[in-house]
Subunit: 259 residues, 2 copies
């Protein structure tokens, strides 16, 4: 299956039928999104958290309470992602392929930009994307950088990492800076220790990738950040996507490109 | 008094002492902001309304419930604006110079970008700004363009208007597009009737200005838009700035400029 060539609707039907896979490289040209659904009484804190941490949490769309689709996402948010993570009292209690049973009428779904969206632009600019080459999930890490808290929500910045040949780092920065709504330019280039990452080989989410001689690890803010806040803040109930297993929306990626 | 040369702190002390004036042309180089404070139970709807209508409602800062200053605004939000408008059940019930008596502990203050912020850049680019020349308030109009509603909040887009010599319209667009956080590029150029404005001589807020031969009316989204939503939606209680009488923040305007 040429997953890059699929339409969002076709991809979602595969996920609805049970296919469980990271979505990097899927549906070239379409915007991928992080999902976090929280009870209505927490929605203000989450929206404010996103507002205060816009690089990590670029809000693309917010659903009405209980709604299982949004303006950007025509599918069913309970079934049409490849996998989900359910949280209770700040702990991940289940990784599942379907959340019809766990869904609640008071849940407000947030769709946040995802850096998978600009990976096609990176490839077109000649910047290799290792986890796509390897067919694995992108590596993601908790950092020592604290987000600006909002109400009951606070926690660390989460980043995704792509190893980039040193000579292509400027191109990687330039290309991704044009997509601020899907995390934009990197937040850190080089030494992982400086942002509190002890071992690149042991990501907190996703799979490790090889960093070759002459390559520099480049870090982008990641939309798993609010899930880290859910954990750090002991949120009573929330449903997120399983990191790397994104919502593929009906929005073209060039919609979020700036000149 | 050379109001353009004042620091935000000095300007705010004049307002605190009772000076009541529109703030166009004040504190060159500093960011001006719209104020809207709503009860905590409405804060989610307002933040979502802003998220869904980002050109009219660019959120610069949101205070904690009851707080009378924010990260961007070091003064006292109850006294340090030149004038306020108090709303009850969607009706403007008072225009006052001080809201210490009306303020409530459950109010959440929103500061939204204001187009006065880019007027200095317009002047530097050779684009005249008529209401500054005339020493009056900018004219603002309710339009026939509906905002995307959010929860209990909906209403029309409000615009500010500046007459621009036809040859300078491209410059006005180019300059202001660099300030997306303070409304950015115009939303309409030319015929006011096309956006439901019957008579430029009778603005809904602020003062009329002369449109001279060879000039084209240019319309920017305006941060009074959420006050129009307060009115259209019958919001129980809210405090806004009196249109044109802005909060002058401690943030430099170049902070909100993009390349």
């Amino acid at each position: 299956m040429d997953v890059a060539a699929l339409t969002p609707e076709r991809a979602r039907s595969h996920f609805r039928e049970g296919l469980r896979t990271p979505t990097a490289g899927w549906c070239r040209g379409w915007t991928q999104a992080n999902l976090l659904a929280v009870p209505r009484e927490l929605a203000y804190d989450l929206l404010l958290f996103a507002q205060r941490n816009p690089v990590a949490c670029p809000v693309l769309d917010v659903g009405d309470p209980g709604a299982v689709s949004t303006a950007l996402f025509g599918g069913d948010l309970r079934t049409d992602l490849p996998a989900y993570r359910v949280y209770e009292d700040g702990r991940a209690v289940a990784d599942v392929g379907d959340v019809r049973d766990a869904w609640r009428d008071d849940l407000v779904a947030f769709l946040l930009g995802c850096s998978f969206t600009f990976e096609d632009a990176l490839l077109r600019a000649g910047v290799p994307v290792r986890h796509i080459e390897a067919g694995t999930n992108v590596p993601m890490y908790l950092t020592s950088i604290a987000c600006r808290p909002a109400g009951s929500l606070g926690g660390p910045l989460v980043v995704s990492m792509r190893p980039v040949p040193a000579s292509l780092v400027p191109a990687a920065v330039r290309v991704t800076a044009r997509y601020p709504a899907v995390h934009g330019a990197p937040v850190h280039v080089g030494d992982p220790g400086e942002i509190g990452i002890a071992d690149l080989g042991v990501p907190d989410f996703g799979d490790p990738v090889e960093v070759r001689t002459g390559e520099i690890p480049v870090f982008w803010a990641c939309g798993v950040t609010p899930q880290a806040a859910v954990m750090a803040s002991g949120v009573s109930f929330a449903i997120g996507h399983l990191p790397g297993h994104m919502a593929i929306t009906d929005a073209r990626d060039d919609r979020f490109q700036v000149p």
